[in-house]
Symmetry: C2
Subunit: 260 residues, 2 copies
């Protein structure tokens, strides 16, 4: 099987033009088939604030009303996605920016309104991924750049977590490619001591994850990120890593290791 590298890049890097350009230069150097998945929550939050649209949260998750969906689609699929694609084209990486609606690559299911209505939020599963459409791009040496906007197949756009998209796409393509998944963000990896970048764990197992979660050392956004990472690992993705965006091409960071 050919190799495929799927990289997820987080909002804290996207927000810094120089860090983003450095990252994209590295990304373009990855040989073989590759896919980039990006979020952009920080820029969306800034625009929502400028427009006086309140950011509504419930149990740590954003509620996406119609106005918020419009802003998220604009920021993720418009400005950020096209900025990334134009910069990749400059490095002669033939990128194509995609939401889930484009070429129908990713259909999501709107989250049920009970027990709580999160609005225009969609959940994805590997069965919603058009692996054939993505493989067609990869075979033509075109690099998909996927943003965190999906669709419901009924004409509606949905806001979807970018970490989950990366994991789900990796699982769907792991039947066709020897797939590795890399989560890049602003920390060195999974930290054994919060905020101490020197404490990066070279490897994490599900048992260690449960124990660090119980101890409150792994918390907040790292919990769903690691859940997505383990889900990919268990479902057949060959290698899953979490690392700093500056270390994309190095062996630094944390290997997410499930028992197989």
């Amino acid at each position: 099987m050919k190799t495929l590298t799927i990289v997820k890049i987080g909002g804290n890097v996207i927000d810094k033009p120089e860090a983003l350009q450095r990252f994209l230069t590295d990304f373009a150097l990855i040989s073989g088939a590759k896919i980039l998945v990006h979020g952009g929550g920080i820029l969306a939050a800034q625009l929502l604030k400028k427009l006086d649209i309140p950011v509504q949260m419930h149990e740590g998750r954003r509620i996406t009303d119609s106005e918020t969906l419009e802003i998220c689609a604009m920021v993720y699929a418009g400005w950020i996605n096209k900025t990334i694609v134009a910069q990749l084209q400059q490095t002669h990486c033939n990128a194509i920016g995609l939401s889930g609606a484009d070429a129908n690559i990713l259909t999501a299911i709107r989250r049920p309104p009970l027990p709580f209505d999160y609005g225009h939020v969609g959940d994805v599963s590997p069965s919603g991924v058009s692996a054939a459409a993505l493989a067609e791009f990869l075979q033509n040496d075109v690099t998909p750049v996927i943003c965190a906007i999906t669709h419901d197949g009924q004409g509606g756009l949905l806001n979807t977590n970018a970490d989950t998209i990366a994991s789900t796409v990796a699982v769907a393509l792991s039947k066709m490619y020897d797939t590795r998944l890399i989560y890049c963000f602003e920390k060195q990896g999974v930290l054994a001591t919060p905020n101490d970048d020197a404490s990066v764990m070279p490897l994490i197992t599900p048992a260690e994850f449960e124990s660090l979660k119980a101890a409150g050392i792994i918390s907040k956004g790292m919990i769903p990120k690691l859940e997505n990472a383990f889900a990919a690992c268990i479902a057949g993705v060959t290698q899953v890593r979490i690392k700093h965006a500056d270390n994309l091409l190095s062996s630094k960071g944390t290997v997410v290791q499930c028992e197989k």
Copy 2:
């Protein structure tokens, strides 16, 4: 040669959700290869106003500073493009939303800063169109939906007139397809009496255009629209029409006829 239909849809229709949905339902019914090109200036102007970003004009043309470019990319490539694509997917038209940067389909040249600097504005010519990339989509029954954002190949995005994109893409593909180009907007066609929809001309020639322009009957935005239409006609596009968005599938409207 196979047939190809390229349709340009204007901001006055995009702005009205019901009219847009009606139009897209008709568009999906066009048989054979097809491409949709859209603008979105009205929605962009609304967002610029909300954000207190002044709309700067010079001789009737918008100046695109960095902030304006960001808003235009968000509105055109983000919200409008993805809304259209999701609605086409609902009708089982397998659409893909594209800026010029995506798959490198359309490289523009930034307009020279002298005699006047219009900012991040790009001009396109048929040599900047990747006809092969567009034909690849069409051969796979994928329908490109192209927004009015291009790139310069140097990492920068550019604002480009959607009427010109439609004409330029039509010319570039007319060597591979028997191409017809349809400009859809909020009027019945080219009007012999301004504001009288009953005065629609069934046909217009370059001589009539010059005479109506000199008489001030054809003015403002209709001038570049017709220039684009004649340019396509002269360069080998089989049929060029200007009509109301509600009449996409009918024979109504104005045929733009050049002397060949």
